[in-house]
């Protein structure tokens, strides 16, 4: 039977825009790729992101490619609820079937969402982990926040997650600060998966790791995305990361999406001048 109607997206970003400073039609028209900047010359307003739309379904990973200042961080922060965007809407389908409108939620609701439904894996493990406490304790943080109160059950779940993310169990009770960079990232992944979220945001998850370590972490992430059926957004400036993890991606420049497409298509047949330059530089 022919059914290529995709399942409803788990995460939907619609018309997202965020500006620092006042905006009107000219600020929008006079910023972006054509203007060559996200900062409006006359008013000084920075249009960090504008007119950004995409969606991601469970089991799918979408890449967001761009250099620093492209607006990808702004988009990530808006999804994470860290900033309230100037305009647009971000919605997330929770595991229980309800819809969370992230752009309308209170800080307390955002925090609950981040415990149960939306996880972020940061580039710097120190942003996602407490390095003073143990690997198990870092996972316990997520579990207790979700209401786990049984010590043995918490231990068991933490061990299960650490095993899955290939952290040796004899390190479970060591402070994460004593771990290598790659191992910290694995603990961060374990923590991110603790409450089986429906969406995970991966922010440069392997940047800063040695190539061989990064390959192992990437491989692990790829397997976890398949296994858990998560909807993932992968932000990276590194094409090898995007290529390995995602099926679709968007390219951002000066706060706008300049191109979107299938990942292999964007890498082999980029259409926008900026995409071509990025790919050319990466392939050189």
């Amino acid at each position: 039977m022919t059914n290529i109607t995709p399942v409803a997206p788990t995460l939907a970003v619609v018309g997202l825009g965020h500006a620092y400073g006042g905006i009107d039609d000219t600020t929008i028209a006079e910023t972006g790729p054509a203007a060559g900047t996200s900062k409006h010359a006359r008013t000084g307003t920075v249009v960090a992101a504008w007119d950004v739309s995409f969606d991601v379904a469970g089991g799918e990973a979408l890449g967001v490619i761009g250099e620093s200042g492209s607006g990808k961080s702004t988009v990530m922060k808006s999804i994470a609820g860290d900033i309230m965007p100037t305009t647009g809407r971000v919605t997330l389908q929770r595991g229980d079937g309800t819809t969370a409108v992230i752009t309308e939620m209170s800080p307390a609701e955002i925090r609950a969402l981040r415990v149960n439904d939306l996880s972020i894996v940061h580039q710097n493990p120190a942003d996602g982990l407490d390095l003073r406490i143990t690997a198990g304790g870092n996972i316990a943080d997520r579990l207790t926040a979700a209401g786990w109160r049984n010590f043995a059950a918490i231990r068991e779940r933490a061990a299960e997650l650490l095993t899955r993310t290939e952290v040796p169990l004899d390190r479970m009770d060591d402070p994460v600060g004593s771990f290598s960079g790659g191992m910290r990232q694995r603990v961060q992944l374990a923590k991110a998966l603790a409450n089986t979220p429906s969406v995970v945001l991966l922010d440069e998850p392997t940047t800063g790791l040695d190539a061989s370590i990064a390959a192992g972490v990437l491989d692990l992430i790829r397997g976890l995305l398949d296994e858990f059926g998560l909807a993932a957004v992968v932000v990276s400036h590194d094409f090898s990361v995007i290529e390995m993890l995602t099926q679709r991606c968007v390219v951002m420049q000066h706060g706008r999406v300049v191109e979107h497409g299938l990942t292999d298509q964007l890498l082999e047949d980029p259409a926008h001048p900026y995409s071509q330059r990025l790919v050319g530089a990466a392939r050189a």
Partner: protein, 251 residues
């Protein structure tokens, strides 16, 4: 086209605009019309740069066609305009209906042949248990040493990787399979086994569109050969006819 049609390519054009090399325009396909039916194996021939790989990639949407249509007809007769399909829909079509086997294995270095081939079966809708059985059969038929089934692909040779790639591409085969030099790195014995596997696809009703660099493979597999030149189709006919012409040119 008859109801047996699987692929219809209509007036397909592909140009690359190289924005960073003074906006230069390179034409890869200049109006290709092509039809492939159920169970048919159409081999693309022509010198390098003729547009064979570009055609496969435009069908698979690794390249975005500049104009023209690529239509895949599903088992129930639904015609899917691949060239106009949304990205997520295209990802879904790639799963079960459309496959692409390139010359090189693209997989994570730390996965094993068994994992990769099983995952490909699952992607095309086979349950895990069946997929494992089929994966073992496929690897066996392609003569991959059993001792290599559970090692990371990073330790495999080029020929071994190519067989893993072909096993993954042909397990629970899709409706239309695109093959781009899938046996280029194989020694004669393994190559024969691989060609047998590909030949079987046609018997199963899979439509195949292929690029091989040697005429023997075409002779063994193709039900029709299409010769390309300068981004368009130069001739299209039965293998015996086309091959004799090609051989004459080669001499």
């Amino acid at each position: 086209m008859s109801s047996q049609s699987v692929l219809d390519v209509v007036q397909l054009h592909k140009s690359f605009v190289l924005h960073n090399i003074d906006g230069r325009r390179v034409d890869a396909l200049t109006g290709v019309d092509l039809h492939v039916n159920v169970g048919e194996h159409v081999a693309l021939a022509g010198s390098s740069g003729a547009g064979k790989s570009s055609l496969l990639k435009c069908i698979y949407r690794t390249y975005t066609p500049t104009s023209g249509d690529v239509i895949l007809t599903d088992t129930d007769g639904t015609r899917l305009a691949l060239s106009a399909l949304g990205e997520r829909e295209m990802v879904m079509v790639r799963g079960r209906r459309l496959g692409y086997v390139s010359q090189f294995l693209r997989a994570q270095p730390r996965r094993t042949p068994m994992d990769i081939v099983t995952a490909a079966g699952i992607l095309r809708g086979t349950d895990v248990t069946t997929a494992r059985v089929l994966a073992m059969e496929a690897l066996d038929r392609l003569r991959l040493d059993k001792g290599l089934w559970d090692v990371h692909t990073s330790v495999l040779s080029g020929g071994e990787r190519q067989r893993v790639n072909l096993a993954a591409g042909t397990i629970s085969p899709p409706r239309l399979l695109l093959l781009d030099e899938p046996v280029s790195a194989l020694d004669p014995a393994n190559r024969t086994a691989a060609l047998d596997v590909i030949a079987d696809l046609s018997a199963q009703g899979v439509a195949v569109l292929s690029v091989f660099h040697d005429l023997e493979a075409m002779e063994r597999l193709a039900s029709r050969i299409v010769v390309m030149r300068d981004g368009r189709i130069e001739s299209d006919g039965p293998p015996i006819e086309i091959l004799s012409t090609l051989r004459a040119v080669a001499r």
